[in-house]
Symmetry: D2
Subunit: 326 residues, 4 copies
């Protein structure tokens, strides 16, 4: 494929924080403050941008964050308000308590000036507690309407700011409302606003039973692809593993598709290296992404297109496997 | 819940035909002609409507079909053109060969006058071979465009006729293009026509990782719910088992949701009782559906809505389990 | 089915503790001490036995625990050493560091006298961190040998005590070594000891792709069924939901199978009601279990056996669905 | 890794036959006779051995088969009696009708002299209809006993012949009794015979939720690994795709594991290229296997073992990804 400007890479700041789960309740490592996490991100050496959670740690100002970013050669790419803490355990945007829904909407709005100040490209909605766990637990219409209305209200409050929804099939709820790309595109349509897009997360796509390359093109075709996050998993859960560790061929196809649609923005890592060194985990994923992108350079697209024009699976496979196997 | 006109039931005629798979290549039973299959359907005693495959058996005329339907007290509810036979093994609407795509479109069009003559409510698209099997095998944009253009052309050719797409995640391809309700709604939107809707198949929904009650409301809310088919499976494949045999609670929720959205049309069985008597399998499913619907009558909707308004899973579960467990 | 002594019920004490996950890092509720958790368990009113984690909270003595159990009419049914905290994040029994493996084995051994003092029926192995996450990460032979040797050593150190392995497919590792009943039975065989059995967890069985009724009989047939835990989930993850909330029919089949194999010991709840009241969640599950067991009383076993002798799925289904649907 | 004698390759003869499924009931291609299929296998150019279904086509003698094998430079590696046709649709070894169980056992026995005459290494049990579809349909004890007794009887009838069970999670039944390696090892143990082993099918392992490299070692460790078959799929169904097309990394790990356990026998292809040319599909898989095996040659096993000894996922991944990505 014809060459292009090399991709740049970013990461969710959570990648460098403290991990905990329901078993290792003493956490997989010691606490890490926001500014320390930025310094850790800086150690990767190859990152240029961060997605930073909001609210910030107590006592940490925007100026502190800017300074930490600057000293590490990083910029703020996105702000992700944390609508998934205890307070919102029964939902943020869809909490049954109108006061908590209001509270959550205001928390999102409160993030906007900080996002502006930090030069973020978008404010991200990742409404992890907005969904349901049990059959019959929820009125799906209500959940839909609450979600659509809430995101619309936030988006309309700041027409100059871009917003993006990161859809995910499940976790921490057994079912999330913005469960996959197609459903989220329909919800965005219902919002009737221009400044809401989609964060396409490769790993989420794997376990939503999507074909990631198909899903990312769907979002792109509708002009709603705001950001791209990457990782890998075993297709039943958001294992947040390093890139290409399980689904190498589909990850190559994803990189090919990004090239095809002309993606030229940062690619963000979304990983939870519970038992690994986060800095090293980031480096490994970036190395893999670069090498995959180099394989895309070498991909004989004309031959691939011919195979695809004939739905010739064997020819397409041979072309691709030869890249990996020499 | 307030009572309603009792549901009526129909079936795909394939339920009464010959079943075969890749192992029992001598088939699970003897061949069954189209008219014999209608007579078998008549034996169920409780069916009022059939979805009939097209083209019809050699030598069978519309008049023959009408006569067979009449003598069994049945009507034709839908016509399903068979775009999944050997000829279309690499795709019907999306076949890489333009001549075969054209052929397939014309086959769909040819079904329309027969559908009119038989009084069918809709012509169904179930494009089982339209998808892909391998990574990199297909250009997803092409598949999308071929599919959208083809359905649009057929729909526009007969503005008086209703059409409906039965989405399904996979089989016989490992991936189908119209894979779930949300994606298919987006495709219908791209068609820009009014006379294409969705056939919501409960079993397909289970293994597409949808929550069926959520998906059927999504289609309904957008005015695109044309028909409803039911069965059950183990959530990885279209096992086409009898209704409620695995997912009893979610099937009750689906029946509740049908009531909620005011569904008052026929409910169609889509089953493949490979090793069972098809007439008995139909009777059992209808018996289960009626009993589930009677449970919906007894459901205390006010209490349920209150539980849902509080996202009170335990209260909702207790209400529902008490219906089953006394 | 002929009636029997009513079942008694127990619970893992964690059901009444504090829940946390990787998102709600401020936890789903306030901290709960061990003794407070026992008092909460007592509030259920219908529990008789607890599975208690070890080591106990700092400053809590066996005498304190006994007192708390006594005042709540409870007994200690099992002790579960916590080999899944930060220290063991790369494995307890299989940690690559021999010193940590030794440490973990000694921790298990240290639990034994406490288990004796508390009158526990068994000490449970639930080695949640013993497995692997990535392809190529582990030598599976080593993991197997470490696991087998470690459990054998602990079991041989206390021939008077019963031990039991709770197998689980995954979480917190993406793959656990004792992943399902059949594999664990083979491992127990390799141990060559008599005092190690299996804790059959209904929910774990669902997402290990087992048929629970088949798996529990397999363990029973080999004389290795030590304990039974129950809950429900969506078959991809250990959602630890209330009993019967998703897989009602298979849960009935499980209760029927327990009756068939003559299970007459306590049935333990294993739930994580993140967003629900734990006491109420326990009560609801017990109510469901009792009602399911009452359905088993009413099951016409002779007719069922006849259906099974003919592999007559429709007859078996009708019999069972009639119990639920009247 | 140190080099070895190059692998040789074989195939199930079905790979070159006619494919049919429940939709394309007119089949994906024209009928292919047994002898023609052998000639097709010969066209691959790189096959040395075949697994041949029994009974043979009407009118085809062992001498005919020998001649066809000879002219194509092939040998008969295994005989697979077809216990999955219409007659056995409710089970072969476990059919509820004792006469059909007997009939099936005798059919297996009848295959033995032909297997001897053809020099087959083993007679394969692939009892595809032996399982169940619905909850409550079967008495799992009966199915187990019927299966164990039947295989034992056949095995004891010919102590000079090797037998092997190809386990598979499902299809054509929704659940098969010999569902995975561990369960089948337990069943073989219950048989108490020395001449029954396991056919480890890589694809079956993927969708049984096994880690193939772990499962194949389990069978090997117990001295029960009789044969190895390979292909790929999407982990929910036996898609029988070409090797490495989806799970490239795990297929490499499987090839590494085969080397590690000293596997030096033929590797058999088990594919159903519904829409592809079977000869080409076989060639592509063999090419992939050879290239993967060449990567194993280049694998720095010492460094890998060191990474595994530390459960260092990142180091192991880097080593492996570098083989693929240069």
């Amino acid at each position: 494929m014809s060459t292009h400007q090399p991709y740049t890479f970013g990461a969710g700041l959570w990648l460098f924080g403290q991990f905990i789960d329901r078993y290792a309740t003493d956490a997989y490592g010691p606490p890490v403050g926001l500014l320390d996490a930025i310094d850790r991100a800086g150690q990767v050496g190859d990152l240029v941008a961060l997605d930073i959670n909001f609210p910030f740690d107590d006592g940490v100002s925007v100026a502190d964050i800017k300074a930490a970013l600057d000293r590490n050669g990083l910029r703020c790419h996105a702000i992700t308000p944390a609508s998934y803490s205890r307070k919102y355990r029964k939902g943020g945007l869809t909490n049954p308590d109108p006061a908590l829904r209001r509270d959550c909407i205001e928390m999102y709005k409160a993030a906007i000036p900080h996002a502006r100040e930090l030069g973020a490209k978008y404010v991200k909605f990742w409404p992890g507690q907005d969904g349901y766990d049990y059959p019959f637990q929820s009125d799906y219409e209500d959940l839909w309407n609450y979600s659509v209305d809430a995101v619309r209200e936030v988006a309309e409050s700041a027409p100059d700011m871009q917003f993006a929804i990161e859809c995910k099939f499940k976790e921490p709820r057994t079912h999330m409302l913005f469960c996959n790309v197609a459903t989220t595109l329909l919800a965005i349509e219902d919002m009737g606003v221009d400044n809401v897009g989609i964060v396409m997360d490769l790993g989420h796509s794997f376990f939503a039973k999507e074909t990631p390359s198909e899903a990312v093109q769907l979002a792109h075709r509708r002009g709603r692809l705001t950001s791209v996050e990457v990782n890998d998993n075993w297709r039943e859960w958001d294992d947040d593993m390093t890139v290409g560790s399980v689904h190498l061929i589909e990850t190559l196809e994803f990189m090919y598709t990004l090239r095809k649609i002309g993606w030229d923005e940062v690619i963000l890592l979304d990983q939870f290296p519970f038992r690994e060194d986060p800095v090293q985990a980031a480096r490994e994923s970036i190395a893999t992404l670069r090498k995959l992108d180099a394989l895309v350079d070498r991909l004989d697209v004309e031959t691939l297109r011919e195979a695809q024009n004939n739905q010739d699976a064997l020819a397409a496979q041979r072309l691709v496997l030869d890249l990996f196997l020499g």
